[in-house]
Symmetry: C2
DNA sequence: TAGATTGTTAATCGATTAACAATC
DNA sequence: TAGATTGTTAATCGATTAACAATC
């Protein structure tokens, strides 16, 4: 076991979900021209444990300086790199409804490594129009274009009953990863990466906890 | 320790996040007039472990029948009840941008126990208009209306730099829970429930895993 | 040097998974 | 009855937290 070869530990998913929070707060501190930041400062801002912050940060491969903390620029770079947000991944979006359109309007996605280069829909009214400079194309072209353009990420903002069909089309085209907003479980081969972003999951946690809270403390 | 008093175990958060998935698949089965369903059927449909499904379901307080499985209607009811989706919680939304507008258009939220009854914005162009029958009011009215109408849930779909101010206004009015889509950590007293629904968290998991995947298996 | 902060190793906690008894 | 499925108790696994040594 040589010291030389940097031991790469997998980054646990809970940690991955916290990294964007670190980026948020560090970006704010950067605007205030802060140069070094301690795990304690971060943990206080985010209501986390400072040990956890240190553990999370160490998983991105950065080293801090005792007594000083972490160099802000280095740290941000390390976080961006771990999330692969220092690369830009091209993506296709399927379903130009209201949520889809909202996502097409998000210019900040490029900061998050995501570049939606075209959208697909089957509504003739929408096809041919553009949103935020992104053209809306007929769904029939989806498979072929993924193939030709080697697009890796598909974003699904379709109604439940259309999501699986379009998923299959994406997979046929050779998509590698799907970001799914449709309220269904998508079936796909194991080697296709599926990340669900259903609002219902988060909402369920909220409504359940609220009910518990009101039960123990009515009014 | 009497057998009588139903022992109420807290429902772990990972379980809560799976419950909506069960509802999805069970609702589909109900449309197909299925009456009983086994934990195995559910686990196969969702790519989960059947033991986990049984454990999750038992936490909602339902009992299945050996050899038969779970009564579909009872099970759905039990799931809805655990999430408190058999009640309707009134909510105010702040920030009628594209994401906010998309949420205002979601009629299905009522199935998820959420009823957005008014929206707030500070854009004079938007104030006074309605979206999906929901009126957009000036932000100044937010605190007072939460107070008067005893609204428990606030939905925040504002830009990062406005989110904390409006959060404070909601808390002043007596809000109990906040569903936060803004890419910031909201500061609030411990007794205020905050559930974050930031897209960046989910996207970060996707982009990180995709990078790992491409590293080990380029093209 | 003393003190603050990092970073690692160990302990704890909680969720998942396994084993198996209970029941229709 | 035999077989399938539930449901509980125990084992495992992984993430969080604690303890403490290392270092500037």
């Amino acid at each position: 076991m040589e010291k030389e070869e940097k031991q790469i530990k997998p980054v646990p998913e809970p940690t991955l979900r916290r990294l964007p929070k670190y980026i948020n707060i560090l970006t704010k501190l950067k605007r205030e021209s802060v140069q070094f930041v301690s795990s304690n400062t971060i943990s206080e801002e985010l209501g986390l444990d400072s040990i956890q912050v240190r553990k999370d940060l160490s998983l991105t491969g950065i080293a801090g300086k005792p007594k000083l903390g972490f160099n802000l620029d280095e740290l941000l770079h390390s976080l961006y790199h771990t999330l692969n947000w220092d690369n830009i991944n091209d993506a296709f979006l399927a379903g130009a409804g209201s949520l889809g359109s909202a996502l097409l309007g998000y210019k900040t996605f490029k900061t998050y490594g995501l570049n939606i280069i075209a959208a697909f829909d089957n509504d003739p009214e929408k096809i041919g129009t553009t949103l935020n400079g992104i053209e809306i194309l007929p769904v029939e072209k989806l498979t072929g274009m993924i193939q030709r353009m080697h697009v890796n990420i598909g974003v699904i903002t379709l109604p439940a009953d259309e999501a699986q069909t379009v998923t299959d089309m994406m997979i046929d085209g050779g998509i590698k990863a799907i970001w799914n907003f449709a309220p269904v479980h998508l079936k796909a081969p194991k080697d296709i990466l599926i990340e669900n972003a259903q609002l219902s999951q988060s909402l369920g946690v909220l409504t359940h906890k609220l009910a518990e809270k009101l039960k123990s403390n009515p009014l």
